[in-house]
Amino acid sequence: MAQNKPLIGKLILVTLAMFGFGFALVPLYDVFCDLTGINGKTAAVAATGDNAIVDTSREITIEFLARPNKDMPWVFKPEVHSMKVHPGEIHIMNYLAENPTGQMIVGQAVPSVSPGQAALYFNKIECFCFSQQQLAGGKDMLMPLQFYVDPALPAQFNTITLNYTLYDVTQAWADQQPLQDNIGE
């Protein structure tokens, strides 16, 4: 029976490794998405727009969609529905948010780009989606997005659609601030 032990040990190791691998798939998937643009995820960190060369020979249509999720009471709209840009040009686009309720609500905007592969070439220098946004009841605000399209964008793409889904994350926000007085509530 002693001969079984090393083998059992190895098999248990494989099992544990595969359990870990299941969880490792989570970051691996993100890496894979960043590399290939699966699912239209955009980078969650700011890009610098310093060294981009403007390509005036091409014009790309950017469409802006904004959608509060169904249990999010904010009004949430882009200033314009679409704009035409040259790759490399830096643009600022404002989103209007309004909280019509009586309470402070924390929102988190989640970006998604279609076609998915174009997400790799859509660079954000400054975005309200990088962090959670607080808005007191009855108030409104302008939320800026500063972006440029990478001139390396493959020729087959001429329209990029950027969608923001806005979620109510007040509960999660409150859970993370146990020491702070909840001002708005």
Binding site: N39, G40, T61, E63, L65, R67, P68, N69, K70, D71, M72, P73, H81, S82, P100, T101, G102, V110, S112, V113, S114, P115, G137, G138, Q156, F157, N158, T159, T161, N163, T165, Y167, D168, T170, Q171
Partner: protein, 380 residues
């Protein structure tokens, strides 16, 4: 009902696969009405026939063997049990056949992935259990909900021709133009499927997915949600009407005018008081269409999943909270913010109805102005 009963027990009818009150079911995939759907159909038939031929050969040999090589015929078993040549052969031949299948399949797939500019873009949002259509670059947007009456589902009325495949407001698209669909979802994953277009794309919450079609023939095309999305997954059909570009433009203008007028009417409504019986009648209609799927027609809810409204603490004791939850939804649950989906009149009616039906006799009439106040953050 009599007709349905006759289907139930007449086996010969079953075998003939046709009966009096149902259109005969097609036995094959639809060819559809777009270039892509035709290509998909041809691909399907190609693979089907290849499989049939392979099946006929393999099963043919097998049945010959079963007939000839049986002990009862006094045969002696042969001794061979391997042959490298023949094994390489029957590994290689399938590879060649598969390559023959892969080439047209890849071509169609690449043709489907066309990112060129579209003429019309529609954002499709699935939610439990209805579709929402929004025409990009326009204020035109609306929900599309199952139109089959509950009585047909519960077998009290005879079922209509388009049972479960009919909606109150279909999606309308122009023919001959490239239509782009951007799918997303408000809650769970749904899947928007119209067989005649060969378009099936998942609507994932928080993400957008893209599909497109170009329909050449005007007509009414029906489909269903194809991804299990909870209790009423069977009850969120899709109806698309393809109209000629002129008819489409006329329809769109009419709709946009109607929306503008409704908005204006809403302002007038704030000054008016509707009477109780009107509120209750409207309210019941709205309740059945938007609320009954979860809270049940009798207001009892489903224990453990959807709370009961009959005898609800919140309804009976806190009117403002009641208006607020209907307007703004409840985060982290299936309760949606209906403030954006329903008109003030519908909201006022459904609130009045839920405050007075099923023994919730609060006696309150909620008016449009009350709802508006809470909407503006001026609760009592």
């Amino acid at each position: 009902m009599a007709k349905t009963r006759s289907i139930r027990w007449s086996l010969p009818t079953l075998l003939l696969a046709a009966s009096a009150n149902t259109a005969a079911m097609p036995l094959n995939m639809t060819k559809g009405v777009t270039e892509i759907s035709q290509e998909v159909y041809s691909l399907h038939m190609l693979i089907f026939w290849i499989c049939c031929v392979i099946g006929a050969v393999v099963f043919g040999i097998m049945f010959v063997s079963i007939l000839l090589h049986r002990k009862s015929r006094g045969v002696q078993p042969a001794q061979f049990h391997e042959s490298t040549k023949i094994e390489i052969l029957w590994t290689a031949i399938p590879v060649v056949i598969l390559i023959g299948m892969a080439i047209p399949a890849s071509k169609t797939l690449i043709a489907m992935d066309d990112t060129s500019a579209a003429d019309v873009t529609v954002q499709i949002t699935g939610s439990q259990w209805k579709w929402h259509y929004k025409y990009l670059g326009s204020d035109l947007e609306y929900f599309s909900v199952l139109a089959t009456p509950r009585e047909q589902i519960t077998n009290r009325f005879e079922k209509g021709e388009n049972y479960l495949l009919e909606v109150d407001r279909p999606l309308v698209i122009p023919t001959g133009q490239k239509i782009r669909f951007l799918m997303t979802s408000d809650d769970v994953i749904h899947s928007w499927w119209v067989p005649a277009f060969a378009v099936k794309k998942d609507a994932n919450p928080g993400f957008i997915n893209e599909a497109w079609t170009r329909v050449d023939e005007p007509g009414v095309y029906r489909g269903q949600c194809a991804e299990l999305c909870g209790k009423d997954h069977a009850y969120m059909p899709i109806v698309v009407i393809a109209k000629s570009p002129d008819d489409y433009a006329a329809w769109k203008t009419a709709e946009e005018t109607r929306i503008a007028e409704a908005k204006a009417a809403e302002q007038e409504l704030l000054a008016m008081n509707m009477d109780m019986s009107e509120l209750m009648a409207n309210g019941e209609r709205t309740y059945i269409a938007y609320c009954a799927a979860c809270h049940q027609p009798n207001g009892a809810g489903l224990p453990g999943i959807f709370p009961a409204l009959a005898g609800s603490d919140l309804i009976l004791n806190d009117k403002t909270a009641h208006i607020d939850i209907v307007l703004n939804g409840k985060s982290g649950t299936a309760m949606q913010a209906f403030g954006r989906q329903l008109s003030l009149k519908e909201l006022a009616s459904v609130l009045t109805y839920t405050r007075n039906a099923w023994g919730n006799d609060t006696g309150d009439a909620v008016q449009a102005a009350d709802v508006f106040k809470v909407q503006q953050g001026e609760g009592e």
